[in-house]
Symmetry: C3
Subunit: 490 residues, 3 copies
């Protein structure tokens, strides 16, 4: 969605050194995620697409910011350390030695909703008006909002920072977005003339506007919708920004043929893709790295992360798929968890209360009820009985259970890995399988049933007597008496 | 909620042939569901209640539309096939031979929010003003909305289709709803005089307005709220329409004594009924065919479809009930799935991680933990131990497990169907039950316990040694070595 | 958040006798909960904080209201019974004998959003203007809203009850909040002069305004935002009030460093506390008595009630914690249910499809898959295998399973309580453990495996033959034939 026009004559300074104090988390707000992506990456991506090299001023939590940039393979970014927080003017000052372009773009790092066209339009206006300094304004009527107020006279303009403003903030609705485009020669001359605020001891870059205006050096402004430039100073503003971003993403996918049941309920990350004809149920969480095919049915309360799903697959409600690959025409859930690089191949069925972890379930195979498949490789057309547990952990190591094609695992089996069930084999319900089962063989490992006539009634009576004797005493964590005829002794 | 006044002098043409191209699903939008009901059924239902016979013009995906109408038992609808999409005027033309009433009502099929009173008022106005043509207008200021614009002069009126409009659409807020009532004689005379648009090659029914106006034949308009007549041309508009419909439904049930926790979170279908005093938790999905009694507690993240629930029943969070019948004073969940025509009778308890499929659970019986009941019939006052699996599938067929009254099934049992546990019988924990257990008998099928002194420490050491030897090698799907003292050989 | 200034010269009458007929539940609306707290407690709490003694007029469902007040330890409240519903004037009359203060505050019981500063400001205005009667007004333009309308002339003022109002309600937007501060001497003199409405047969306290105005005794008004004084007369208004209350609570916690994913989706009760740096996922239900530490991650679709969670703990999606204590650095879920005074100690892991009930899981111990722990005490660093069931119920009593430190319970075990697994012991997968396992011993209780060559193929064929024979007959609840070679007879 970002523009691809390159603006190569510019150089950008991104202000990313702030202490994020209103977040109260001890972390930099710039690595908080909006729709699954760290906030600092949004403006960074815009600048990369425009081919504008970046000087990023960092200070508070600089390591986490730099690591985020590096992990996302952004190049052409030079980090400059601002050791003390002395205002925007001081931050610009720190970058002075690195200025090489004729025009310097300055912007804040916490602008997740900004779009490339704002930078492009600002650059056009700046060059066409030959201004010394150009900046972006927006209309926003909120006396509590800490944006600088833009005060325009007949032939003069200035920005007064909110904390320096003496008048009624609610009457000043033209606010400074914090995006400036400045001629290097103007900046070089005037930056050193900024004066420290007696109120805050900061140097403000915004004072440059008044200087340029007073000296008739040319000031241009570009008015844009507030939502495009809204900053993020606390979790309330972050929530608002994320709602807007998410709304854009959802409306885009709606236009591509995706139906959302309760759209305002859904979480969808910036890099998710969804095929036409797919239904997204209420509350679905589609998290980063998720790619869903066509005509799928993703039901309510599902959560999908870092997963690819092919076409016509159904995720029943309450299904979690994390870091896995799901084929086409698959059914998963309700109440299933698939994770750990698992693969569910075409036409397979994973049912209720089934966990699949680091496993492969082959074409058309089924595990439908109350089953744990860990480190298990299943071939095609096999059926895993309800209540089956693949015991992959021996207390020290994980081992693999291998189930070949057309195998029928009986219900409530315990498969002690490493173990292999060969093609066409079968196991009896209730078995604990500790040895390989050859092809076409039946593995059985359970005791024969005995019925003890009348014992149920006898045991019941004794247990009730025991319960009666204990009446009045506390039973919580305390009951230890058993009936006399223990079924354990039969 | 629909009016019941019959308007028998009219005949309606419903336009349902469009290609729904902006939906991008390859399906007709008219069979997309809004609150669980196919969109085409909303206007159809209004017309049926008003006793107005319908000529439905179909084309794109006509089979699915006709099937939807038939499946919902609508009669008095004649389908007329429009082979090519050549505009509304052409669609009307296709129906010509079937006109029998003196006045013809024309409307779009994608008006899910329309109410009977609009048709009634239009009819009144049309007849009282003796107009040649009457139509419905609404106020809607959106330059992107593709509604025809109504241009009214002192004594003339016309509709210009949005795609033919040359001026500024944002200044024309009086829009054409697409609902017309036309004298048959006027229609007969003037329909053939429509001219094809040079821009789109379509014939527009809207041109009839200018003709009637120019010839002073009488044109009446009826202004209604936009939300009542909003069309649905893409998934964004469908979402908006469904939100409005849902809001009406929820407000209705609120007025009937139902408490919704987070109302904007809930999905509720058009035919759902709920008794007074019932609580509906956050995110609940109450889907078509659901009927809930009085004083129930339906907690968060529940999903109910095609199910009847009696009074005072509690569904704990994360419960799914599909196509089943639930009695009164029942508790289900959390994390339970009941489906497949199952019945849970009065006072029964279905607990956590329990699936009930094609089964009956009798009065006061309990299955509280990690249990699969498939094709299982349970009598009254029986208790199913935690971890019990009814093995209903032998690889080829499903079989029935029968559990009579006052039976106590021990924990972690495997019940191999077909099998019957008779009245007052009991099974020992950990048993695989393959034969019927007689009344009052105890069924037991498990091995006696042996303790091997010191073996735990020995095995642990060996396993750790094995793990150490493998260190550095990849263990993912690859670990196959076991310790030397295998507990499998004991 | 409530003010702490004490206003000791006042006495309050709280009107709590109404029949709540529009709720249709048969219960008093005053015990319906808003953000987890009964509605009547909100104004009661404000008055308690201001040290104002209360005369509460009760009638309909008086027992449930009085019990709610008592259960929440409010003192200084005298209940006065209004036997018949004859209007606000009559309700005040019932309290007459109990007036001792010089000024009487009258307010409705259904004002969950009122704040202490409104009472404080009203008292200041009342005393500074020496008014006979002072009351609170708000601006609200809704012709359907049943608030009394405040009609102000040049030097007179009156309130006309909505049901007595003859004009256009939509033009009268100054409404009576139902909060009055009245000089006792004025009230004593004029209350008896109220006349019964001929329309409703009620006596209206609002008629006192006109009397005071007509006699020039001094009437003061205090205008406040409507949301602060909105009443709750049906479930729609209750929903609206709860949304506002919840929004205040969430915004407060956002300002304290808590991140909410989809804030409008979350339920949060009035007494919940959350540490800075904690993430609250979509749909989370944080219910009364919940206290969450710092830097926790509470993922989507979780439900927490009456539970304390320490720092850095992760609740995976679809986790329910009720009435329990969770340590720091714990992981629970996805799909887990912990309840019944359970304790999960630091660093422990509870995994998928695991239920923990009345149990203690020690430091660093793990139960990761498909496990039921009921009445189970687990020491430190023990591992519970997948599929383990603690059988705590013998049909009559609950018994305790005790697992000491560093124990390894094999998969799919059935632990028949009362039973103890001592330090460093181990059990074999698939065992039913009925006797204590000594320290360092291995408990084993399962049958040895036998492989029957070729039997799988043989059985499969027979079962398919049986299925074929039954084809065409209904199989639902009816299939009873088995194959000839039953694996049960092997």
């Amino acid at each position: 969605m970002a523009g691809n026009k390159k603006i190569s004559s510019l150089q950008a300074i991104v202000l990313a050194a702030g202490t994020s104090s209103r977040f109260k988390t001890g972390r930099s707000k710039l690595v908080e995620k909006i729709c699954g992506r760290e906030m600092i990456l949004y403006p960074t991506e815009i600048l990369r697409n425009l081919d504008i090299p970046v000087l990023m001023v960092v200070g508070f939590q600089r390591d986490s910011i730099e690591e985020t940039i590096r992990n996302n393979f952004y190049e052409g970014i030079t980090f400059i350390h601002q050791e003390e927080q002395k205002g925007t003017g001081h931050a610009i000052q720190c970058t002075k030695d690195a200025w090489i372009a004729d025009n310097i773009l300055v912007m804040n790092g916490d602008m997740p909703l900004i779009t490339a066209d704002i930078i492009e339009k600002l650059e056009k206006k700046h060059s066409s008006t030959n201004a010394a300094i150009s900046f972006v304004t927006a209309h926003h009527c909120d006396p509590n909002a800490m944006y600088g107020r833009v005060i325009q006279g007949n032939d003069n303009v200035q920005i007064i920072e909110a904390k320096e403003f003496d008048g009624d903030l609610s009457e000043q609705c033209c606010v400074n977005a914090g995006i400036y485009l400045i001629k290097k020669e103007f900046l070089t001359t005037y930056l050193s003339k900024l004066e420290q605020s007696s109120k805050t001891n900061e140097w403000y870059i915004t004072d440059l506007i008044k200087m340029a205006s007073d000296h008739k050096l040319g000031v241009s402004t570009l008015a844009v919708p507030f939502d495009k430039i809204r900053g993020v100073n606390d979790f309330k503003e972050l929530w608002a920004a994320e709602q807007i971003k998410k709304s854009e993403i959802i409306q885009y996918w709606m236009s591509q043929g995706v139906r959302f049941s309760i759209a305002h309920n859904v979480q969808i990350d910036w890099d998710v893709t969804i095929g036409a004809g797919t239904f997204i149920g209420s509350g679905a969480q589609l998290l980063r790295g998720t790619h869903i095919g066509k005509d799928c049915y993703i039901d309510a309360f599902t959560l999908i992360r870092k997963t690819t799903i092919a076409d016509r697959t159904t995720l029943h409600p309450h299904t979690i798929i994390d870091d896995s690959i799901i084929g086409s025409d698959v059914f998963v859930g309700p109440f299933a968890s698939v994770h750990g690089h698992s693969q569910i191949k075409n036409g397979a069925v994973i049912g209720s209360f089934v966990e699949v972890n680091r496993s492969i379930v082959g074409v058309g195979s089924k595990a439908k009820h109350l089953t744990y498949l860990g480190d298990t490789i299943i071939g095609n057309s096999s059926n895993i009985g309800a209540g089956t547990i693949a015991c992959n952990y021996d207390g020290a190591q994980k081992h693999t259970t291998t189930i070949h094609d057309n195998v029928f695992v009986g219900a409530n089996n315990t498969l002690v890995a490493p173990v292999t069930l060969h093609n066409q084999s079968m196991t009896a319900a209730g078995s604990t399988i500790t040895q390989d089962v050859p092809s076409e063989a039946l593995g059985i490992a359970r005791e024969r049933q005995v019925n003890k006539e009348g014992y149920a009634t006898k045991i019941k009576k004794e247990k009730q007597d025991a319960a009666t004797q204990e009446e009045g005493s506390t039973r919580f964590f305390g009951a230890t008496t058993t009936s006399k005829t223990s079924i354990n002794e039969l």
